[in-house]
Point group: C2
Chain length 472, copies 2
Amino acid sequence: MENQVRSGVGIDYTGMMSNSQNPSGFTKAELQSLQIELDRAQTSLESRWEAGELDFSKLLVSMKAQVPEIIKYADAAASKFENFVVLGIGGSALGPLAVHQALNHYYYNELPPEKRGLRPRLYVVDNIDPVRFKELFQILDPSKTLFNVISKSGNTSETMAQFLIVRDILRQVCGDSYAEHIVVTTDKAKGNLLPIALKEGFQRFVIPAGVGGRFSELTPVGLLAAAVCGIDIDQLLEGALSMDQWIRETQGVFSNPAQLRVALARFSWQKGKTVSVFMPYVDGLKTMADWYAQLWAESLGKRFDRQGQEVHVGQTPVKALGVTDQHSQVQLYVEGPNDKVMTFVTVEKFKDTQLIPLDSELPEDIHFLGGRTLEELLFSEQKATEYALTLAGRQHQKIILSSLDAYNVGQLLLLLEWETAYMGELLNINAFDQPGVEEGKNGTYALMGRKGYETRKKEIEEYGETQYYLRS
Amino acid sequence: MENQVRSGVGIDYTGMMSNSQNPSGFTKAELQSLQIELDRAQTSLESRWEAGELDFSKLLVSMKAQVPEIIKYADAAASKFENFVVLGIGGSALGPLAVHQALNHYYYNELPPEKRGLRPRLYVVDNIDPVRFKELFQILDPSKTLFNVISKSGNTSETMAQFLIVRDILRQVCGDSYAEHIVVTTDKAKGNLLPIALKEGFQRFVIPAGVGGRFSELTPVGLLAAAVCGIDIDQLLEGALSMDQWIRETQGVFSNPAQLRVALARFSWQKGKTVSVFMPYVDGLKTMADWYAQLWAESLGKRFDRQGQEVHVGQTPVKALGVTDQHSQVQLYVEGPNDKVMTFVTVEKFKDTQLIPLDSELPEDIHFLGGRTLEELLFSEQKATEYALTLAGRQHQKIILSSLDAYNVGQLLLLLEWETAYMGELLNINAFDQPGVEEGKNGTYALMGRKGYETRKKEIEEYGETQYYLRS
């Protein structure tokens, strides 16, 4: 037992703090000085929680209660279908992808069925590129495929367009039984998908009304795909609940992980760190960076504060991957403008290792690699990068997972969701809406000829004339 | 013929310019005012070209001459192997991936062999995550695989570690014939890979000495993988050469595409646009954004100018994908700080389209989609996003490819490479080195116990002690 890693997530923030190599880091007193504001944020979040505005946290318990039902459906689906295709965009795509890549085989879809527990392949189709869409049907047989259409409102143009095409294909291929190939995840009581599902008899799962897309991974939006592909969703929720409890029941910036992370973020922002780099050193967490980027950008990139003052806040999230991006982005992080704060995500232990063979006949320059492991090389590179950043006066911190498993991924999701909610409080903005996306949606309706948008259409078309164009 | 799109690449910079909706845009006079500086840059680049410092351009002709040899080898390899695995990192990985994704089937590896012209599957392994590395060998049979080890110096720790492991596996599986499964792409005359290749009899291709990793896609680094997977590398180089000629032989910011792009970039940078968003509206160009991010970040993120003054320059490249990231990042771009300049990359025409079926029995809200195509929806969303950004006073431009083909991808690569070289001139920095990466490399050598790095090791280990850690 003594070598067993204690499960959970930790935060190493040494690289954010003042020290002899980087005197411009923060001090404990500085972080402590934010405590009154953090306490106020905590109180405010607690009343929002009570009022049903933070259902990503409040409904975790009821989500956990749904697990048996989801698993039952997922297991049945897994035995009937070769492929599971998510039709969704934004949070409906990024969440399922992030969790799948974190917890399943890196080359999952290419494994022979028996090596993935006879579970279906997973495809998440979040874009409407017509070429890619056609190509999807060149590699899968719709008659052996279950399509999961995810949209709370049934108003998402991309998803509804995909749905219409897929429904048509299924009707041609499967005839009357086409409805068995569609499962919708949508609002319980309203929207455009609901009446279609009821009329045509699609299986349904519910997106709770109070949970927005980017906070919805631990609802049926993400849980269904995860369960179909064999992920232990019970452990995922177990981890989420434990982090939720830690954050909700702990006082003080040095004890509460969301408060700590947000204090670091808040001071960074104040001191001109307009870019937040999220850089896992685990291949499986590459897509988690995309999920985080949506969460942080869409929640916190806001024009108005809660009193309607123009503020134009929001750090720009940047996705990176260690060690890969050491050979791509780190030059800029070390030498460019000091406007970035970095979060590395690492594991204490990989679930497998790989020895680099010794061969003394090879050139001496590479002898140092022999007899070590890929894991050691990766950890050394991570540490060396931290050191290089520190020497250059750049701040960085590390979220450390004891290992990459469902429990810890659940913890990580909740930590990032809560710190985002906290940041909304500190910035005095609404972290749960996305008014800036409306203009683009309306413009799309207008250009596609939706009724009621005629004036807007004329406006955009007039604007849209190309005035400056260079062509060979 | 009259409907045929004229091949090539254009730049629509209407969204960068002053107009009634966005009066804060640039004027033609402003861009023109940079002409003296641009002419000076052009002269300077021309002498660097002569001096052999811009071999990414100068050697295009000799690369074209190598095409028959590369194709001959690639065709033979394609008939012998089921899988082609690139072991490389940075430019050695991002270039091959970007071109492959742009020009081959989106689900290439999952196609049955006959649908990919009996060409090998392609894997680009650019990271050293031990789990992923083991998993690779769960989906491919090394005895049916050709490994392409890419490193100019043979000093790249990650690639050399991978090489050592793969060589060992191949020796076990293939015995004496293992050398037939390895092809190295490395320097002609020096480095650690060269003597191994000579001694053990690996097939070799040459990375020209004067071409750095991030500029090397159109050398054997990228051409070999592309040719093996059936891409028309002759057309790729043909496009590159045509763009190269356009840029080198044209005077004036409104005629020379690299000068135009760099003038826009330079003014943006001057006016506080510290972030450069690269956002293709084509799924096939998603990885091109990664390639661009390396090119822009590593070339231009520099501490010192050419006179040794501290400057800390460099825009932060951000990768995005339309329409997907409209549901993730665009909220921030529209409402957050006005510190971003956007480049969309679009095609005039997709090579395929997809009709959205009409169904008047469905809810009226979605009727507008019926009878239109995915292509129309995508273009409408792109235009609506441009309009929303303009209304919010945000600047954006568009690189437009007549279609997504090898010729145009070649053009795009050269355009981006040349504008990066130009930006180096305007910033008065060396765009072709990466001194900020050295510290991290040396630190890795030290921590891995390489001889001669003992002092550094002690230093990092002392620094590396965790002083601030929060754990449940």
